[in-house]
């Protein structure tokens, strides 16, 4: 206490010690970025937010996970010699759930800060705009990776419980997990950019879901036309149109998985093109986000 010369008497009670200065640690940008990453990841599943905002993400996680559990049980019950659904096909099969997750959660990750202008508070702190975008992007990517990785892992667990040989299961599982990581990066990037461009309530959800649905529909239509004309090469390249077929093409071409949409990228050149496009999309989304937030305050 800062009152040295007065003898302490037992009657004195200090109810309020007034304003206290903070002398503790001030951790640097990497701590802040990590905190924001964790916060974003939790926020994507509604943790730390209202009870209502937990419903959607966990419902969708359930939609992704339950089929994997059911498949595991069925496989072990009727002694199948292989899983009825492949690891690498799983995400594309349940892409609707992933798309809805993107639509419902990416506005919460980005547009919320923009709509309520919380960004001004972030940027008046040590974090730079790039670091803010990195944390948000990484948080959303991690959330998506969980959404896809957890059911895939449960699928593997189910297969092993059904006493299918690990040696047969593991390569495809690893391909699928690598694919999930790429899916997460590409899908998170696109959905965050779309959400950040549409900060108004409700519009973001519709815009994100709309973009993915339109691209998927467009891709299916164009490919059907290409198939009609019998142009296999062009038909293969139509996978570039939709993010899901794009990543599927990379997983098929690069890791040697079976394409889940029939026609993978044509040959080594096709694989290179698909991979390059993935890299371009990720880098482009990051750059677009940084540009978007540069505009946010000035």
């Amino acid at each position: 206490m800062s009152e040295p010369s007065t003898p302490r008497a037992p009657t004195g009670a200090i109810h309020d010690i007034g304003y206290r200065h903070y002398d503790g640690a001030r951790l640097g940008a990497s701590y802040i970025r990590r905190s924001l990453f964790v916060d974003t990841l939790r926020g994507a599943y509604g943790l730390g937010r209202s009870a209502r905002s937990k419903i959607m993400p966990f419902l969708l996680l359930g939609v992704m996970v339950i089929p994997a559990v059911v498949v595991g049980i069925v496989t072990s019950y009727i002694q199948l010699s292989s899983l009825p659904i492949g690891y690498t096909v799983y995400v594309v099969t349940f892409q609707v759930a992933v798309t809805v997750f993107l639509g419902s959660q990416s506005p919460a990750v980005t547009s919320r800060d923009l709509r309520f202008r919380v960004t001004a508070l972030y940027f008046s702190r040590p974090l730079s705009r790039q670091q803010y975008v990195q944390a948000k992007y990484a948080g959303m990517t991690a959330a998506l990776f969980l959404l896809m990785g957890v059911p895939l892992t449960l699928l593997l667990a189910g297969a092993l419980l059904a006493e299918l040989p690990l040696g047969e299961q593991l390569p495809d599982y690893l391909r699928a997990m690598a694919g999930a990581a790429i899916y997460a990066l590409v899908l998170a990037g696109i959905s965050l950019v779309v959400a950040a461009m549409t900060p108004r309530r409700g519009v973001g959800v519709a815009a994100v879901v709309g973009v993915f649905l339109v691209l998927s529909g467009l891709q299916a239509t164009v490919r059907a036309m290409a198939d009609e004309f019998g142009n296999d090469v062009f038909s293969g390249y139509t996978g570039l149109i939709s993010p899901y077929t794009l990543v599927d093409g990379v997983v098929a071409g690069l890791f040697g998985a079976d394409s889940s949409v029939g026609q993978g990228p044509p040959g080594a050149v096709g694989t290179a093109v698909f991979s390059a496009v993935v890299v371009l999309v990720v880098v482009g989304c990051y750059a677009a986000l940084v540009a978007r937030y540069r505009k946010a305050l000035s």
């Binding site: 800062s2 009152e3 007065t6 730390g48 008046s124 040590p126």
Partner: protein, 427 residues
Amino acid sequence: MDVIAAQGLAGVDTVGSSMGTRTVLELARRGVGGDAVALDPGGVWRSGGRRFSAPRSPVHDPRVTKGRTVLACGRRQHRLPVPGAGADGGLLPDMRWRVHRVSVPRATRVEAGTVSLIRTDGLTKRFGSVTAVTDLTVDVSTGVTGLVGANGAGKSTLLKILLGLLPATAGSASVLGLDVATDGPSIRERVGYMPEHDCLPPDVSATEFVVHMARMSGLPTTSARERAADILRHVGLYEERYRPMGGYSTGMRQRVKLAQALVHDPSLVLLDEPTNGLDPAGRDDMLGLIRRIGSEFGISVIVTSHLLGELERVSDGIVVIDGGQLLRHSTTASVTAETALVSVEVDDNQAGLHARLTAAGIAVRSDGRLLYVDVRDTTVYDTVRDAVAELGLGLVRIERQRHRMTEIFTASPDSSRSPSGHGDAHV
């Protein structure tokens, strides 16, 4: 014991801003009466951990304290951390102040105006063809500084430049000795910023939000929780801080915005129009808080407003900008310097006092409930005091009359742009 005191003196938030305090100081400085002086010592001697004094705390004024016993008063129980001292000692019993003897920690004295807080040199900012700030050169020292100017005068732009968020087109600026162009992150670590606009997400509680913002300033989670709870109490948010902020009133929202700017214990806070949208009571609360941040918390404050009257009440210095240019930079003290008039308010028999003072050869003018007394020399104070005592009156206040800050504008060469009214002038 003969004690100098005045009503309002020990008011919790009034040190330095209360006219009552100033009156007492004036009396004490002039050697009037008393072997003791009663002062609300603000945060000087009771802040735990690091000590800090109000820059102009009367407790540190040797003219006030020399040869006298310093008595500390507090209206609230929590303002009385000095244990064991006697009861009220007969001093102003109707206020139920408890009076304690305190020592004055000289070593903690912080002089206002010794440290350069913000320095700009030829600072210019253009947005395309629009020039927001033009060749601005100021040197702002510690304490509470008001930044006044009309809407669009360049106040918010200046704050953003100072935070290192906007690059200046020309010129240079430093904050806390750090260059805004190169040391942006270091500046932002030690500076708090309260934006003018709404910036609170509605779906989280104030506690969660302020904790999050503390962590975004680099505080570890445990410290962030502690600091957030502390600072929310200081700004006056209690039970409601656990509710989502969507249901908050404007006053509460402004408090949360202020709390997030202070939660990391900055050396300087930049407050952009903190009284915007508040009703008169909320405005008073906010101004009181700002004064406390400057004095009790020991944090320097830059506060913008287009209401001059507000800044007059809380700031040590004033920077007036107009059209991005510096119009005037001065201390509030010099702007609101004393006049030779003292207003006296008594609870009864005003006419009797008037007559008695007139009889003593003092020029007195009566205006409503107040008597304006011309103090040509210091003996007038004694005469007033003695007259009040002999008549058995309650002295409500003695207040030195001051020049109003609005007079800057009537006196400035650019007065054509500045209406000179009473009260809050919209500049």
